[in-house]
Amino acid sequence: MSTNPYIPHLATIKEAKELTDDTKNLRIAFDDRKIRKSWTFKPGQFVEVSAFGFGEVPISIASSPTLQGCFELAIRNSGRVTSAFHSMEAGDKIGVRGPYGNWWPYDRLLGKDVTVIAGGIGLAACSNVLRYLIDKRSDYGELQLLYGAVIPDRLVFTDEYEKWREAGVDVNITVDQRVRDWKGNVGLVTQLFNEQPAPELEKVEIPSNAAVFVCGPAVMIHFCCLDLVKLGFNTEKIYVSLEGHMKCGVGKCGHCNIGPKYVCRDGPIFSHAQVEEIEGYKKTT
């Protein structure tokens, strides 16, 4: 790794696949053979990825480190740089720096139950660990996924749910709004497990001693954690992946600083207990 933290490695998009109308999955490989072989990361970390001429954005690595020689990013079209990625195809050159940040505490949970709760594109920040846990299935107890999106068309990685079920994951999907011929659950992802179940939704029991990984829109994370705490989950066993406006990824640009923490360096994974503390620093009243 270069000692200049701002210099990206050149990489090539190997495959670009539409996941939804606004989200694209990019399979990426480093151009340098040595880096391609030695580069690795831990599930939950992110990279700073450059669309040259447009800029750089922090994106969670969606794939598992068990996938070798390349990695995947699921990028939602939501701004200048991400829209540049959306116009890219296989063969296009990009820049990659990282990996940055900490990771889901999967390494401290051997033999334990793990539940992943995700909303919308938030699944791309958890799919890394879910896929990793599936590849190391025998090392863990019960695995569970609770995933929700606004409408069925916004669900990502839809072609993998069956595979995940076959691997022994309790996969539960829901959408906020009924659309066309959707036959599955209708209701918020929190209603899958909280005490206000929706009529068209099959309730899910989260193993009481499970570690819970949460990622999604800020509002979803907020209510998800509240409901988990109400159900008696320890705030130290709920983990959240936070987002932040990040320019550098190494704790220097200052944008993601909240309280004494930098989301890029001290996070992006925080326990709910840490998040509660951090939230206090944002408020003045």
């Binding site: 701002y6 040259f52 220097k252 620093y281 003045t284």
Partner: protein, 342 residues
């Protein structure tokens, strides 16, 4: 710089041109120079160009952390780092700015024990830098360095320092590099009378500054009072970001790409935590939407977080933010309010 035992010399003012010539051998000399009614840190050739008569509003930070800087260029599918540094002497830096450079040094150096990341763009310039401090004979309006423990006399963080004793300069060395420069001038060691005189000048400057508070330990008190103080002053704030852009310790930046046709350049430029877009997230939300929340961030970062990060406050009491604020929001008032309970 830390293990060097410093010495103190006396230099006749007639020798100042020789002193400047000796500095020129160390690199390009930058010093406060009058340009019209402005006093700017600019490259100088002659001792006669140096103006110590006023405290500059201009911030020497830009010589180690420029307002805009090219990071790399991408050409023919190659990323080429654009690291640029040169031997430089900053002559006449005030004690507050010397303290600010110590903050920047720690922040852009490897201050995190685990996974420390050194910013080579700033740190290469720091390594090439010789600092000649100038201790303040008088304060200006809004100065409150004595409350922040950074002045009006610099005690560390420089290679050489000057104190104006009338006919003489008292010259202190704090590094091998500084000592080497001074050796060439064969200066006599300062007398005990001259040391006493320097102490009197410090006392005089402090008296003139007339600061009625001391910020020591403010990081332990701030959490109780910061919300009320931030809300109170946020009401007047017009969100121009001037306080950040004139602050000698502010280090936040943004990065952007410039497409030059045959090449792409990545540039970085100063950013301001007081601006709303600073925490703009992809979903269209803002971490700190209210002005009060942003004011709190600025106060907490300078008066608390950097104590956690690298062990010192990062407000030096230079008073520049107060000087430039069009809404008359004065940092010294906010610090005083925080100390006195909102």
């Amino acid at each position: 710089m830390t293990h060097f035992q410093g010495h103190t010399y006396a230099m006749k003012k007639e020798m100042f041109p020789d002193f400047v010539e000796a500095l020129k051998k160390e690199g390009m000399v930058v010093a406060p120079k009058s340009v019209g009614s402005d006093l700017l840190y600019m490259p100088i050739d002659n001792a006669s160009e140096v103006d110590f008569s006023r405290i500059p509003l201009d911030d020497p930070k830009m010589y180690v952390f420029p307002m805009t800087e090219k990071i790399f260029t991408l050409k023919d599918e190659k990323v080429v780092p654009l690291l640029k540094s040169m031997k430089l002497v900053l002559l006449g830096m005030r004690p507050c700015d010397v303290a600010a450079f110590q903050c920047l040094n720690r922040f852009f150096g490897d201050y995190v024990e685990e996974n420390g990341i050194r910013d080579p763009y700033v740190m290469d310039k720091m390594d090439d830098l010789t600092i000649v401090a100038f201790n303040c004979p008088h304060p200006k309006e809004h100065c409150f360095c004595s409350a922040m423990g950074t002045g009006p006399v610099a005690t560390s963080g420089f290679d050489l320092s000057l104190t104006d004793l009338g006919d003489n300069y008292l010259v202190e060395t704090r590094s091998e590099r500084g000592e080497k420069i001074i050796q060439k001038l064969f200066l006599p060691t300062a007398s005990s009378e001259e040391m006493v005189e320097r102490e009197e000048i410090r006392k005089r400057c402090e008296t003139e500054m007339n600061v009625d508070f001391n910020a020591e330990g403010i990081e332990k008190k701030i959490e109780k009072t910061v919300n009320a103080v931030a809300e109170k002053y946020a009401e007047k704030c017009i969100v121009c970001g001037g306080c950040n852009f004139y602050c000698p310790t502010c280090s936040c930046y943004n990065m952007s790409d410039v497409d030059r046709g045959t090449a792409v350049e990545r540039i970085r430029f100063w950013d301001s935590c007081m601006l709303r877009g600073f925490t703009w997230l992809a979903g269209g939300t803002f971490e700190r939407d209210a002005i009060g929340a942003r004011m709190k961030q600025r106060l907490m970062h300078k008066l608390s977080y950097t104590v956690v990060h690298y062990g010192t406050l990062s407000c030096t009491g230079c008073g520049r933010c107060s000087q430039v604020c069009p809404s008359y929001i004065f940092m010294e008032d906010m610090v005083r309010d925080i100390l006195r309970g909102g």
